[in-house]
Structures are given as C-alpha cells and as structure tokens.
C-alpha cells in the first residue's frame, strides 16, 4: 500500500505530481491511499510515497480542467477516482469523450457540483464594512459546500482588487490586503461582523424590485436554495413579500376596475381602434372591415352573435341585416329596451365563400373563435354587463370555452368562462332558416328574451 499525503484539501499540484509518478510505475488504484494534511506517522510503518520526477506524459486538456474542479469536491474518494480515470486515459486517451461511461459521468457530475458551488459563492458572499486598523475592511461569512476557498479566491481578488477584504468560512479563511492573499484557519460566524447599515438600503431595494403580480417561488428557490439564505440579509424579507403579494395584486386590479367608469368611453374607443387593424387570425384578409360591438357602455345586457354577415360587413355595424331586424322585433315583443343593450359578435370578421356574385356565409371554426375571444374579453371587462346572452352555438363556444348544446342550456343562467352570468338561446338567423314550427320557435325565442329581461330587472 502506498500512502500519498497532500498538503491541503484543494492541493491539485500535489495530486498531479503524485499521480504522474504512480501512473508511470503502473501502480493500480487499489494500492494507493490518499490523505490530506495528515501527519505521516499516523500510518505506522506503511511506506509514505514520495513522488519522483519521471518522464512526463501528456493528458488531454479537458482532463486537467475536470481534475482541477473535482479536487475541490468534498467527497474523500475524489483523489482515487481521478487517479483511476488517469490510468484509463493512458490506455485509451479518448475515454473522456465517452460521456456515457459511468466513471466519466460521476466525475463530470462532481465537477459540475463544484463549479456550481463556486458560482454560488461568487453570487452570495455578502461583505460587511468594518473600520479596522489601517482603514476600512470588508468582511464576509460564508459556508461553502465543497473545498473551494483557495480556488475561488482569484475571483474576489480580480473584482475587489483595491479593497481590503476577508472571507471567513468554517474550514478556511482568506484575506486580501491589496497586495497579497493569505489564508488562516477556519472561523465561526461570531468572528464576522454582525451587520452593516447599508443592508437596510439593500433590503429596501430587494423589496421594491419585487413584482407582486408575479410570484414564482419555485423559480426563486431553484437558483437560490434555502441553505444559502441564512447569510444573506435580504432573504429575511421573502416570507412577508410572498404573503403580501396576493393582496397587493387584487387591490391593484380592484382599483382599476372601479376607476374605469368615467374613462370607459376612451378605453372602448382605443380598443375598437386597435381591433380595426387586427390580424390575429387569417379572416382579416376576407372581410371588408372589422365589425366591432356597439351600444351603451353601461348596458345591462350584452348580446353576442356569431359573426357579421354580408350587410354588417359592408356597414361596419353588427346586427343591421335581416337577423338583426328580427332580433329588434323580438326584443320589442319581449319588452326589452333595445337601446339599453350592447350587441357584438364572437368573431369580428365576415367569413364567407364567394359563389358567383354572392358571398355565402361560412361558420367560423374553433381556432377563429379562440383568436377572436381576446376582443370579447376586452369588451366584457369594460362594460361588465350583469347578463350576457350567447346567440347560437358559436357565441356559446366563445363564452364558455367549449361546445355546448343550446337545447339543454337555454332558459336558465350559467357561469361564463370569465365568471360572469351568461344565458344561451338560438341565433335569430336560425329562426329565418328553420322550416318546421317556425312560429313556435320564434315564440320560444321571445320567451327566452323575456325571461332574460326579467332577470336583469331582478338583478338591478
């Protein structure tokens, strides 16, 4: 058994010299014991290995990089694992390229853990300013997972070159005096300063930059695991920020809802203007223009039809064709004040097939309805009608987000996708088309409208 004693936990050079000699003598990994900083006589009469200068041999550069990282890992087996890989590299120099090899994978994973720990140290060290002999000094307390303090010191030297600083850790402390690095034994948290007045300002920043309208706790803890929190001043705020977030967001939404009132007309006109240039689906290519909704913005009932027809497309107004006239007549008979209703369509462009000179209506499909739902949502959030009426299957699909059967749903209130109250009945154009029981169907339609009118009165 050979015993190699390395100077410290991150002693890459010591490992490299020993491993080179051992490999030249073809000593198998099982016959080497690696130890760190141990007094030699601990090992009794076993021969302590002294590396000798042998002929150099080369290893691929990626291996050196891998080994430099792995050496810092806290796993005591790391020296031996690296040596095993080194021997295999001598036999097969391209072993490292076989990323599916279990040993390569294990070492790659260890290297990755070390690199991550080093990166987190760059990120989460928090200096505190203290007045010491010879001027201002910046001192941090940090608890790394691996043996990275020596290897990581260079980063802080490059960044804080003109400052005096110390980073204390349980295992090893590092100091910079603007000229040279020095190391001292590990410390405890009590050795580090317990505060810095600027931390309150930093916490103010942390709390203010947080957007309460989006809370993604998992995304936060994935990158900033809780084990680091205890040494970061700002994390003390996380709990209260999350707890207050929902309340803050609902307050904002509530305020903007109640504020709309006087400004609704401006907002509606702006939305309508934007809709004129809509290209959310391909239908904008066929129609003459976008046909937006129409009516008072304090309407008590919102009627949603299917899509503009031939006449609506040319006029740019909803429900002006035969179906609209039929709706007007039915509303009068049902005792509903037409001028107090808002009328619009689930799809705002005319979809048709050209047959000779005639433009034949075509039913919009589900994606077209979905694309256009954005506009209905805008209209509904501005008008907020107590009752919305879906005229026909297309409108119902838009309001409920799924296909529904009109026959099964008409005559009573339902909850729409956005939580508002919605009723369902047939589209007036159905009454124009239907052959059998025309009168009865019309009467049922009027009856539906009447019931809706009564409902709105009851809600007032």
């Amino acid at each position: 058994m050979r015993i190699v004693s390395l100077e410290h936990e991150e002693d890459f050079d010591g490992w490299r010299d020993a491993a080179r000699s051992l490999a030249l003598s073809r000593v198998p990994p099982s016959e080497v014991t690696w130890s760190v900083g141990a007094a030699r006589d601990l090992f009794g009469d076993e021969a302590v290995f002294e590396s000798t200068d042998g002929p150099a041999f080369s290893v691929p550069r990626p291996f050196v990089e891998l080994a430099r990282s792995v050496i810092c890992h806290r796993d005591p087996e790391r020296f031996s694992l690296l040596y095993t890989l080194l021997l295999r590299l001598r036999a097969q120099p391209k072993t490292l390229e076989d990323r599916a090899d279990p040993l390569v994978q294990r070492l790659e994973r260890m290297a990755k853990e070390v690199r991550r720990d080093m990166h987190k140290m760059h990120a989460f060290v928090r200096f505190r300013e203290v007045e010491a002999e010879g001027g201002t000094r910046y001192v941090a307390w940090f608890e790394p997972e691996h043996h990275i303090v020596r290897s990581n010191a260079g980063f802080f030297v490059r960044r804080f070159n003109s400052m005096d600083w110390s980073i204390l850790t349980p295992e090893l402390s590092v100091h910079w005096n603007r000229e040279a690095l020095s190391f001292s034994p590990g410390a405890t948290r009590a050795d580090a300063p317990d505060g810095d007045p600027i931390e309150e300002t930093w916490k103010t920043y942390y709390a203010s930059i947080f957007n309460p309208a989006r809370v993604k706790v998992k995304a936060m803890t994935k990158e900033m695991p809780k084990k680091y929190w205890k040494n970061m001043p700002e994390t003390a705020l996380v709990g209260e920020l999350i707890a207050g977030a929902q309340a803050r967001e609902s307050r904002m939404v509530e305020t903007s809802r109640t504020q709309i009132g006087s400004n609704a007309r401006v907002a509606w006109e702006a939305v309508r203007e934007e809709a004129m240039g809509c290209t959310r689906c391909h239908l904008y290519k066929c129609g003459t223009q976008t046909v937006f909704g129409e009516g008072p913005l304090d309407a008590r009932i919102m009627f949603v039809g299917e899509q503009p027809g031939d006449q609506e497309d040319l006029a740019g107004k909803p429900f002006v064709g035969p179906a609209g006239q039929l709706l007007d007549r039915a509303l009068v008979e049902a005792g509903v004040d037409r001028s107090a209703t808002y009328v619009t369509n689930a799809v705002k462009h005319f979809k048709f097939e050209q047959r000779g000179k005639r433009r034949i209506h075509q039913k919009p499909d589900a994606p077209e309805i979905a694309a256009c739902r954005w506009w209905i949502e805008q209209e509904r959030s501005l008008i907020r009608p107590p009752v919305t009426v879906a005229l026909g299957a297309t409108a119902a699909r838009s309001l409920f987000g799924k296909t529904v059967t009109i026959g099964a749903m008409r005559g009573r209130p339902h909850e729409a996708l956005d939580g508002g109250e919605a009723w369902v009945t047939v589209h007036p154009s159905y009454l124009l088309r239907v052959r059998d029981n025309k009168e009865e169907e019309y009467a049922r339609f009027v009856e539906d409208l009447h019931r809706i009118g009564e409902r709105v009165k009851a809600l007032a």
Partner: protein
C-alpha cells in the same frame, strides 16, 4: 413636497423600474480591477446575486433616474397622468449607491433607465453623466446597462455606448396597432431608426477595435430590447415574427418579453386581465428554438395552435414534434446534429454529448437516459440500440402521455 432621503427615493425608483424584464450582466468583454484605483470585474458569464420571489434574478441595481415623465403611455406606471409618487436621484446619488452595493457584492453593476424629463436630450445627458462618473471618476469596471432614449441626439447616444456594456431601446409593443393604442406619443419607425443607428455604431466600434487595439470599446455586450406581452392583441405568432425580424435587422443580443402585469393606478385603456405567466415562458422557449435549435420563425409559428397562440400545457418544441410526426423517430446513432436538436426533451448539451459519445459506442436507451435529464419525453421520438418506439410515435394520445402532470401550481400561475 418633503425632501425624500435616499432610501425613500430608492423605494420609488426601483419600484418604477421593475417592469423591465432584463437584468442580464453577461456577454461583455472580460475586465478586472487589477491595477486600477477602483473596483469591478466582468468575466463573461453574468452573476445573479439574489432572486426575488417573482423568480427574477437580481444581478444589477435596476433603477430609474427619475420616474417623472412627459409621456403618457398607458401601460406604464410612470406615465404623466399616473398618480404615483415621483422622485428623482441626482447622478451622484446613483453613483454612490452603485459603489456601496458593489463593494458588498450585492450586484454586478448598474442598469439605469429614466422617465423623460424636460427633453430627450436632457434626460440622456443625465444618464450618460452617471455612467461617465462611474467609469472616469471612480474607475468602476463592473457592468453598466443604459437604456437610451430614441429621440436623443446621436452624439449623446454615442457617448452612452462608450461607457456602457449594453445599451437598449424598448420597442414596447409587438404590433404597430398596439403601440398606437397604448403609447400614442411613441413612434415605431423612430424607435427602429434608433436601433438601426445603434447597430451601425456597435459595428463601427467593433471594426475600429479590430484595427486599433487602443480604440475605445463601444457597448461590447451589444444591444437588446423588450416588448410587453398581453397588453395588446398580438398573438404569439405575431410576436415571434416581430422578434425574429428585430433580431435580423438590428443584430440584437436579446429580445426580452415582459408579461403585462397589472400596475397600480392603471389607465383604463389597459386590459384588466394579465396573461398567464406561462405565456411569457413559452415565448422565451420559442426564442431559444430560433437562436439555438435552428428553428425558423415560420416553423415556430407552425407550432402554435390555429388561433396563433403557443400551447400553454406543452413546450413549443414538443408541440412542433407532435404536429410533424413524419420527421420522427430519429436514429440517435446516425442522425446529424441539427436533426437531433429537433427531438423534444433533448437540450443542446445533451445533443453534443450524444454526438461525441456515439463515436465510441452505439448508444442504447439507457445510455441516452444517462446523457439527458429525462428519457421519458425523448423515448417516443428516437431509435436507439435495442430500442424502437414501434407504434408509440403514431399514437393519438401521445400528447396526453407526454404532457407534464399537473403539478402543484405556483401561487398565482394562471
């Protein structure tokens, strides 16, 4: 008005800056503080020094110089007609705050933007002064990102580029019709004109640097932009198309998407509902597909549903693969890299590992499992040694099988 102290101002001016999504501190030239009077270094990869509960990284001190503004953009909390409390930092205050935070290792540097006061030029001068003072008076070598004002004098914008690592101009909204409604005083053509000017300034700077070593570097981390998602009617397809046009025309490093979120004292012209946060995530994924996976913008648009929106329940790469199943299964041991990149569940790193490893052995499904995060998602789309998905690739319920199980939802994920 009572005098505000630095902390009160910071609270207001950080709050006002938080709707800017970008906090990146990466991609700039390497620098360090060795041999200087000041502090600071940049080492290529950015560092996130903390994370806020909104899941966003805190890398830079991101603040506005002032939140007063002569513009009245509806989506913006700082618009002229808003009732928010106003504050203004002096250039010196920002400089001192940046240095104090930097010395304690809280930040990588400064991201400074501003509401527009008096005039575009006046505002731009103030921003440049902060950067100049940090660099020249304090020899600060950390990261600086300056937001530039589209209408400012080109000479001032040029100065910004000399001090800053990155400069950015926000396009604000993905469509011209949205810009017209929500930011009626802004002009899409002028914004793009400014981005074009910046692009040539960056190119000239790079060119000069190549010929003369002593030439000053000009915005070495390039330019980026941001657009707000969900405030106007743009569909994902339109957004992706706009983004790719911006990447092509202005050589942008990044296009950031910021899901519109309700702001206090909102203008009534804004939608009240916010888009699901997942939408922003899917857009970033599609951005990645174009930048690193060789997808063309039109192909990303194909991954969207017929209503132009990317599916929220599955990622766009999986959505594309499910739509174009004729491209699968792919033989993991033979297919070229660009074809491997199309396999759902395989990232760029996994693909590179596969490409090097397969020179040494024929990869089995177990090998692939070791090279990637989860083989379950990959399996139906590949052929490996001893593995053929037989009917799996053609199953109608494949989406259901691959869709992530509904996990515990993030607090407000819509």
């Amino acid at each position: 008005m009572a005098q505000l102290d630095t902390r009160q101002k910071l609270a207001i001016l950080a709050d006002a800056a938080k709707y800017d999504a970008s906090c990146a501190s990466s991609g700039t030239a390497k620098r360090d503080g060795v041999g200087g009077k000041g502090i600071g270094s940049t080492e290529g990869m950015g560092i996130c020094h903390a994370y806020a509960p909104d899941g966003r990284c805190i890398s830079l001190l991101k603040i506005l110089l002032t939140n007063s503004c002569i513009f009245d953009c509806h989506y913006c909390i700082n618009r002229k007609s808003s009732n928010v409390r106003r504050a203004r930092f002096t250039a010196e205050e920002v400089v001192q705050l940046t240095l104090a935070f930097y010395k304690r290792n809280y930040i990588e540097g400064l991201f400074l933007s501003s509401g527009i006061i008096r005039s575009s030029n006046y505002t731009m001068e103030q921003l440049v002064e902060v950067a100049r003072s940090l660099r020249e008076d304090h020899d600060f070598r950390g990261y600086i990102h300056l937001k530039t004002i589209p209408d400012a004098d080109p000479e001032l914008v040029h100065k910004a580029g000399l001090h800053a690592d990155r400069v950015s101009i926000n396009v604000e909204l993905p469509t011209e019709r949205g810009l017209k409604r929500l930011a009626p005083q802004k002009d899409g053509a002028r914004i793009e004109g400014a981005m074009k000017g910046m692009k040539s300034a960056i190119e000239e700077g790079k060119d000069a640097k190549q010929r003369f070593k002593s030439a000053p570097s000009f915005a070495p981390a390039g330019q980026s932009t941001q657009m707000i998602v969900g405030a106007d009617s743009a569909s994902d397809g339109e957004i992706v198309t706009t983004a790719s046009r911006l990447y092509d025309r202005f050589a942008l490093r990044r296009v950031y998407y910021s899901a519109f979120s309700p702001i206090p004292d909102a203008s009534a012209v804004l939608p009240l509902q916010r888009p699901p946060l997942m939408r922003e995530h899917r857009l970033y994924q599609s951005d990645w597909l174009m930048r690193f996976y060789g997808f063309k913008p039109a192909e990303v648009v194909q991954a969207a549903d017929a209503d132009g929106m990317l599916p929220l329940d599955i990622d766009p790469k999986l959505a594309w693969a499910l739509k174009f199943r004729e491209h699968f299964p792919v033989d993991i041991n033979r297919a070229p890299r660009e074809v491997l990149l199309r396999i759902p569940g395989l990232g760029v790193k996994a693909v590179d590992r596969i490409v090097t490893s397969r020179r040494w052995r024929r990869l089995s499904l177990d090998d692939v499992a070791r090279l990637t995060v989860s083989v379950a998602k990959v399996r139906p789309f590949i052929v490996a040694e001893g593995w053929r998905p037989t009917l799996l690739t053609d199953r109608a319920d494949l989406k259901q099988r691959l869709k992530p199980k509904t996990e515990q939802l993030e607090l407000f994920a819509a």
